[in-house]
Symmetry: C2
Amino acid sequence: MNALPEVKYLMTPGPVPIPDFVFDALKTTPVHHRSPHFTVLYESLQKGLQYFFQTHNPVLIFGGSGSAAMEAVIQNLFDPGDAVVITQNGKFGNRWVKTAAGLKLEPVEISSPWGQVPHVQDIEATLLASGKKIKGIILTHSETSAGTALNLEEICFRLKRTHPDLMIITDSISSAGILPFYMDNWGIDAAVSTSQKALMNPAGAAFIALSEKARKKLKPATGFRYNALHMYLEAHQESSVPLTPPAQILSGVDACLRWYQDQGLPKIWNQIHSNARIFRKEMLKLGAILPAQSPSDALTAWGFENLNMIQIQNQLLNNYGILVEGGQDVYKGKYLRTAHFGMLKTEDMVRLTQAIAEITSSMLNP
Amino acid sequence: MNALPEVKYLMTPGPVPIPDFVFDALKTTPVHHRSPHFTVLYESLQKGLQYFFQTHNPVLIFGGSGSAAMEAVIQNLFDPGDAVVITQNGKFGNRWVKTAAGLKLEPVEISSPWGQVPHVQDIEATLLASGKKIKGIILTHSETSAGTALNLEEICFRLKRTHPDLMIITDSISSAGILPFYMDNWGIDAAVSTSQKALMNPAGAAFIALSEKARKKLKPATGFRYNALHMYLEAHQESSVPLTPPAQILSGVDACLRWYQDQGLPKIWNQIHSNARIFRKEMLKLGAILPAQSPSDALTAWGFENLNMIQIQNQLLNNYGILVEGGQDVYKGKYLRTAHFGMLKTEDMVRLTQAIAEITSSMLNP
């Protein structure tokens, strides 16, 4: 990889840089998943994950990406033919619609343009108008493709009152540990997150927190199915996992969860919120367009009207060693995306905005 | 984890200890999966994985355990109702039978007792007797639960001549990189391996090599499905992956594959074979029972007739820092299992057999 510039500052909205204390945990703990050491690790992980999701529910440990875990949740909690409302305002909401369709559910979409989010009124209107018995709702809390966040607290509070039977599922992949998120208090039935976002680890492990109502829906698979969550719940009763887990990553995740518990979630949420505020303020001064009307603190999508964004992305990497993420789908070529979570601090936001200022200035005054 | 003895020597048949050069690769390369660096990594991985599987076919990169990858292969290459022969002489063969059943295929089992393996004659007889149109065969090359290995070369050679249309699928999870394995030369259509066995990395990534015949069977999923291999094959055309991959693990796997290419497979196979031979010779001298009649060089299952095997396992860990694996299912409590692959050398075999000699001697002469 000698021909490519070194990535000194990985500022993509996941994966994020892996801190040294996580690598030390990965390296010094070769935990075999059928050893007593794993039982200790598993129990420590439960404690940490329950804090992370703000729940007393068990958190199942799954090997695969966030999409695999979301598919597992949708497949296990619903049956073919079930009508499920899905909010869709970006690439990931769209993926859960396609996932539900692939599983022969009846997805009822609530679509908003990228940058906007559906509000509780839209959701209630859809539930009333559908005329179907809606079994559940799938909400993408922070939509990484568009850089937006739902008002999840308000939506959950209202739905719990007006539709108490509805199964509420959240894609919390880029929200848990990043934005205020209270699974139990908000009455969420299933929440999914992964190792490579707020948990600052290699990608490869996903985490599925399930309420009692959700756990009651789990049934043993006919034959063997990798994502039959019933099998994971059974193993959980013995502080274990049914299949080879990404055990080293779990050691790293455990180290990260201890850091969360030491720091406290509010302090971490505040730092991320501050990063987002500083970054956006500076970017607006530079004349940037920030397309998110309901921005997520996890990341910001940003662009400049008459400048070549690919060129900016390349110059950030080539001249500053800063890797930022391109836009996907409708944002492709128009906006770039940069993270505010992980170990990022004020100085990282300053470094990035200064680099952007220099690049755009030299593009405008060549 | 202070109360538990430190694992100094992890000798389980996967996960295996992660060498320092792999950790260095994991640590120094934060590769984002949508960066040009990932393209370079992907192409290097292809070269290495093709060497590893001895194939010119593309090798798809999948996030999840070996079981998830095997399920993906079975689901993508066959349709509900297809009759598929599956050899079954241990826990993993049994899992592929259950997986096929769960996918509504018609599994035709060829069962042998643990420790034995089905021979080509058994397989041909089954194919003749079944009276069904058999679409494929699933062979567990090295059965980790029982410590046995099929004569895969002979089986493939014969089947290619007598049943050229049969799709041949191998669970190579504990055979590729460990036992002689030649995907192209033996005419194998799909082979699966994982990161935490011969590739000496954290668990979390799986690798699926597919022949042209197998690739032709892939169809786009209706909606989105995590394990729709067609999506991975499409991304492969652009040296990419469709979903967040376990990218750090892939950097480690790349480092390991370079080591394979530097050393050469035959040298590595010879070292593993030598480890197995030395270990078994010493164990027989100690009066051990080795239940595998067709042993795999990947590992040995071993026991002592009148001794408590759990006590031996505990003493190995408590007094020597050696972690070995217990038996599963019918081997539970009767046999322990220890690996011969990874970076293990003659001195590791000697250390282990000496520890076993001391423990059994003190148990017999307390």
